[in-house]
Point group: none
Chain length 222, copies 2
DNA sequence: CAATCGTATGCGAATCCTGATCATCGAAGA
DNA sequence: TCTTCGATGATCAGGATTCGCATACGATTG
C-alpha cells in the first residue's frame, strides 16, 4: 500500500514516515503543495495525507486539483485549525476524512484503514503516465481533460492497463475484449490501437502503448 | 436538530446533554441498548451518539438493528476501546464515525456537524444549469417555471443529479430507479430520458443530459 | 376514465469491422 | 555493413451493424 504525505513541518513528516513504514506502508513525501500535487498526479497512491496549511499551494487547492484530474484516491486532511467550517470546506473540496493535530498515531492508522477498506476489493482507477482511467464512471482523462472513448476503445485500454507492464498477446486481447475464443484473422486490434493512440495523443516519444512485433502490445510507463 | 444519546455512564451522559443543549440541539437519552433501540426506531433523529459498551444490548447490535430497520440517520460511536478491529467492526455495522474516549467536546461537536452537513446542506436541492430540483417538495423548476414530472421521470432525474458529473451506467440506473436487480432488456430508460429532455426543454446545444453510447447517461454542466 | 408506465417499431446516426494500401521492421544474403 | 525483400503493423475509407431516439400503442393503476 502506497501513501503520499504532503506536509511541510519536518518533525511531523518524519514521525509519520517512520511510523507508517513500520506498519509496512510504502511512503512518499512532499514538503509543499506544488511538489505534492505533481507527485499525486504522476504516481498511483492508495491514500494521501494532506496538510491543511502548506507553503506554495494550500491543501484545499491541492485537494481540489487532484479531484479535478479525475483521481479518486482517498485524501485525509491533517489540520491544526479546529473550526468546523474549515473542515467542512475541506470535505467539500473532495477530501474523505480529516484528523486534527495533535492526533494520536493510533487514530491516524485507523482512519487510514477505514479509507482503504472499500477500495480493497477491486481496482477502479488505473493510470498510465498522464492518463487516468476510471473504470467505474467509464471516464478517461489526460491532464485533467476528459477524452471521449467508444465502448471498444475503452475496453481495450482497460485491458491493457489491467496488465500494465505485461505484454498482451493478440489472442488474449481478442479473447478478453472481443470475446472471440477461437481462431481469428482480423486487423481490428490494430485499428483500435491506432484509434486509441490518436485520441490519447500519444506520439513517437510518448509511446505509452508500445507494439511488440509478432506478439501484441504493452502499456507501460516510460 | 434532534440528537439521541445512548450511554450508560450517567456522568458522561449529563455532560453531553448539557453541552449539546447549550449548542441548541434537542437531546433525548437512553441508558441501555433496548430502550435506545426502541427510541431510535420510534422517533426521527438527525444524529445518534451510541456508546460501544452498553448493558442489555451492545452498541454494535443496536447499530446493526437500526440499520436493518432501514434508518439511515448518522451514528457516531463513543468508544473507550482503542483497538483498530473493534472500530472497523463498528463501522461495518453501519456506523458513520466514531470518537475515542476521552474526547474533547469540541471535537465531538465537529464530528456531529460533519455528519449533519451532507444531509442538511446539499441533499435537498440539486441544480443543473437552469434547472432546480427540490427532492423534498418533489418539485422541478426551470427558470422559476415549475415543470411537472411523473414519479419515474423525477426518480430518474434525481438519480442523474445525485451523480452529477459521473457517468451513470444503464444497469445502475435500472437498479436504483426501477429496482430491477437482474438482467434487463428493455428500452424504458431511453423512453424516460427522452421524456425528460423534452419536458426540461433541452436541445442539442443545451445537452445537460448527455448520452454515453453503449454505457449510459451523464448529467453535467456545459 | 385519465394519468402513468412499459413495450414495440421504424429511422437515423455512431460505432464497428473489413479490406486495401502504405509504411516500417527485421532477417538473410551480398 | 548495406541492401533487399517478405512479413507485420499502421492508416484510411466505406459498408455493415448496432444502438439510441422518437413515437405510437396497449397495460396498469387508482
Amino acid at each position: 500500500m502506497r501513501i503520499l504525505i504532503i506536509e511541510d513541518e519536518s518533525g511531523i513528516l518524519n514521525f509519520l514516515r517512520q511510523g507508517l513504514e513500520e506498519e509496512s506502508y510504502s511512503v512518499d513525501t512532499a514538503t509543499n503543495g506544488l511538489d505534492g500535487l505533481e507527485m499525486a498526479l504522476a504516481e498511483a497512491y492508495d491514500v494521501m495525507l494532506l496538510d491543511w496549511m502548506l507553503p506554495g499551494k494550500s491543501g484545499v487547492e491541492v485537494c481540489r486539483e487532484i479531484r479535478r484530474a479525475g483521481i479518486k484516491t482517498p485524501i485525509i486532511f491533517l489540520t491544526a485549525r479546529d473550526t468546523v467550517q474549515d473542515t467542512v470546506f475541506g470535505l467539500q473540496a473532495g477530501a474523505n476524512d480529516y484528523i486534527k493535530k495533535p492526533f494520536s498515531f493510533e487514530e491516524l492508522l485507523e482512519r487510514i484503514k477505514v479509507q482503504l477498506r472499500p477500495h480493497s476489493g477491486e481496482q477502479i482507477e488505473f493510470r498510465l503516465g498522464p492518463i487516468v482511467v476510471d473504470t467505474q464512471s467509464h471516464q478517461v482523462f489526460r491532464d485533467s481533460q476528459e477524452i471521449k472513448l467508444t465502448q471498444k476503445e475503452f475496453g481495450l485500454l482497460e485491458f491493457l492497463l489491467r496488465n500494465k507492464g505485461k505484454v498482451c498477446r493478440r489472442t488474449r486481447i481478442i479473447e478478453s475484449v472481443w470475446d472471440i475464443h477461437f481462431e481469428y484473422n482480423t486487423g481490428v486490434i490494430d485499428v483500435y490501437i491506432n484509434s486509441l493512440r490518436k485520441k490519447l495523443g500519444l506520439t513517437k516519444e510518448e509511446d505509452y502503448i508500445q507494439t511488440i512485433r509478432g506478439v501484441g502490445y504493452i502499456a507501460k510507463e516510460i
